[in-house]
Symmetry: D2
Subunit: 275 residues, 4 copies
């Protein structure tokens, strides 16, 4: 099983935790621990042999840990996600294929698009698609429709798979810490619109993509994964967009794998990732 | 020999150039050509079999090319550079070692430091070191001293190998297109001071370095080479600085190799690099 | 248009070729040329402005080039491929998705599987699937069935997208230079079966994938693309297989893009790739 | 301080270890633990707050751990190395520069060369150089001379920084687990002599370097670090050698940093590396 804990740091936390496990005759297979000493913050992820006493173990851990401890034991492999898209197919396709072959680490409950063009793809995989246009709606009305659709499902995460609308602070607050976005640049370079055009104008030699949790500040949330690919003078802005699709797909896939495998902690505006 | 040409584009340039070569019985070993169609700008680099008729070939090429053509034939392998440093040793050491073993592609004529601590290293390799402090000098006076020292040598390029002073537009104008800087971030992210601190605060998952030509705008000149290395939550700002040294050294070395091998063209604020 | 030429090298080839183009008022946008001096072999790829005189240009080029010159002009963007698979879905899915969204650079005519489990996926995308089992068939009979199915189509390339049967020299000879395979290791390391198990046993720190043309010698054909990803001590052989899927998918996609874009030349057992 | 332990695995090891630390009021800053379940083998590296009770802590840990436990506490940062070289300067230069600026994590006690050409470089940095030629000596006599020179020093590791002689099993046995080599290929590809020539002949698209511990089997010891760089058709074997120097230097530097920082465990023919 997997045990994931975040709390304020103090002496003896690992001893306390592992003594609980030892008494239950649970063996530790792999353990990653990190203390952010500036923030006096403790993070641990433990993979152990299986146990049927999950509730009891959680109670015993709670008893020996600080009050603020967030403990998750044996996170269910059947997490649930809702995916938001606009027009681009590459990230969504990758998610649907993994979903179909049961290698995503989650179930896609539905896809919501502010354009309809990805509906046919979702239909092929029998994944419900909701077309909710932003046109002819106020932002509030648009988001109300999104929210009421999302609320039909019990999703763990909202995945913005090239969803090109900016969400309001009110919307983000409703799903705090549960919205994952793929941004098409190596943040914090090229924040905002048209990052590939900006990259082309600047003449950079690499373009990147960033998967991050969404907070109120545009493109400013905690970063989960970043990767880059080389480009050169022969790339037009359109070539960069095309090349960027590959890296966007790979980065979002990697971020989802890490988050769904309970390897990502968030504290303030940063992540701890036990890869 | 190597032939390097930049001019405005028109139909038939390659035919004109290669016909000149064919008539001299010169064979083309490798050829890289690029047209920036937006800018109607032509760039070519040709490696050929050797010829003793360099002056004649240049004249014949000039005759068949547009008036604005910049032609360089058989660029001398014994280019000359002056290196400016502050306190950090890593980029300078790499340059001095390559210089000593004749694999730099240039000769280091002298090193100028606004601190004295790298003097001893230069002495080991019998490379003249000039200590020119910025302290107690106006910026103008400081730069005047730099200029008069640099002018003792016939250098092709000034290399800012972790030189931590900002140069004035007047200084830059004197050596237009000939100053190469290594910046300790993946530009345009983290422009300006303390990029590793900024990177740490932002929680990025990669740090980079950028070698670029220096223009009047701080950190805004044409980019030659960019590379990155992964970092994670366990890196302090100090760890990032330490890891960054490796990538800074590698990026500056690569940029120098490309520039000194006549593989880098500059047009407006971008480069064309035939790697 | 794109012009691709391979022939034995001699002085003046580029001049001859580009003079033909100039006389037709065709401008060269991008040109990549390479001479293998050991083999005295000439390779060129030229992107030009469009022309309606393709047949005439080809005739004129043929007239000025050596007899052995292989010239391809304006290669059709609608190439055709047949894909062979066994059980693994990742490479095939990627190909089907790109095919569906018209970004593959080719049309998938059909998929042939020696297991049936990928049939349903192909059905979703209305791509014909042929189940041809190797079981209960001699190798000759099995390959005869493959061949007769393949011959129903006019395909430019056969793509072995994790097809786990070794093809006979007779089969390979029928499609010489037109079979592309993805091998699940960084060749020539771990030739043959179970490369991830071999990699695990050896304790390597990186695993790779290799896309190559198939020749008679197992895993010995001309290499098109290779990439690697880091692994570590915590990876089991099964983890390596899982991680390997990502790199296999990416490497085969990249190789197809290069081949279908006429950027890959084969000579003897090596490729020239103008990326 | 840093605590490094390897022993056979059993339930409760982490609890036992961390309870010892807690009782001494020692806080854990960072902890990396790994169990090789196939081998039932436990590895842990713990960074903690400082303590003056090192001997006592070690005794208490020994008391609670299996008999076979290898415990190292607070490994001295002033490790000592002897470097063996032949003719190539790049790895040695990198080591000498880091040694000179005290960023190597060890002190270079001496350099031994079977050619004399790197003597002058060592002299610049006041590092003793011993010229011990293999010519005119039997292998035994040659190795006897190496051994008697090495034994003048109390070195923790022997670093083969492009030392191009194969060492006998007798020699290797004397320094078991303490010899680090840089091999100029991505092992296990291109084992043995002339790997770059082999890589060129095969037409690979990447070349690599491997740092590993030396065992009796040539190029078969436990791998510490591997990295690659892309190459292409335009690279001659000589170009690959030149490009390879950069990656060899980087890989050996990284391996030394990891080993000297006590982040590398060896068990059987593999390493566990807590990066």
């Amino acid at each position: 099983m997997v045990i994931v804990i975040q709390c304020k740091d103090k002496v003896g936390l690992v001893a306390s935790i592992t003594t609980v496990l030892m008494r239950k005759d649970i063996n530790i297979i792999s353990m990653r621990e990190f203390v952010n000493t500036e923030e006096v913050r403790f993070f641990v992820r433990i993979e152990t042999t299986e146990s049927s006493d999950v509730a009891l173990i959680e109670a015993e851990l709670q008893a020996v840990l600080p009050n603020d401890a967030a403990i998750t034991i044996n996170p269910l492999p059947d997490k649930k996600i809702v995916v938001l898209v606009t027009k681009e197919y590459h990230c969504l396709s990758d998610i649907l294929i993994r979903n179909y072959f049961s290698t995503l680490g989650a179930t896609v409950q539905c896809v919501i698009g502010n354009h309809a063009i990805l509906e046919e793809l979702c239909n092929k995989f029998n994944v419900p698609f909701y077309y909710i246009s932003h046109e002819g709606n106020s932002k509030e009305a648009f988001e109300e429709k999104l929210i009421s659709t999302i609320r039909q499902y019990q999703s763990d995460y909202l995945v913005l798979a090239k969803f090109m609308r900016i969400l309001s602070p009110q919307f983000v607050a409703l799903f705090a810490g549960r919205i994952i976005n793929i941004h098409h640049s190596f943040l914090p370079a090229f924040i905002g619109a048209h990052p590939y055009r900006q990259a082309y104008e600047r003449g950079v030699k690499m373009i990147g993509a960033t998967a991050h949790f969404v907070t109120n500040d545009l493109d400013e949330g905690p970063i989960i994964v970043q990767q880059i690919i080389p480009v050169n003078h022969a790339f037009t802005a359109a070539d960069m967009i095309k090349a960027g699709r590959e890296i966007e797909t790979a980065v979002l896939a990697k971020a989802l794998q890490l988050v769904l495998d309970d390897r990502v902690f968030v504290y303030k505006n940063k992540t701890v990732v036990f890869e």
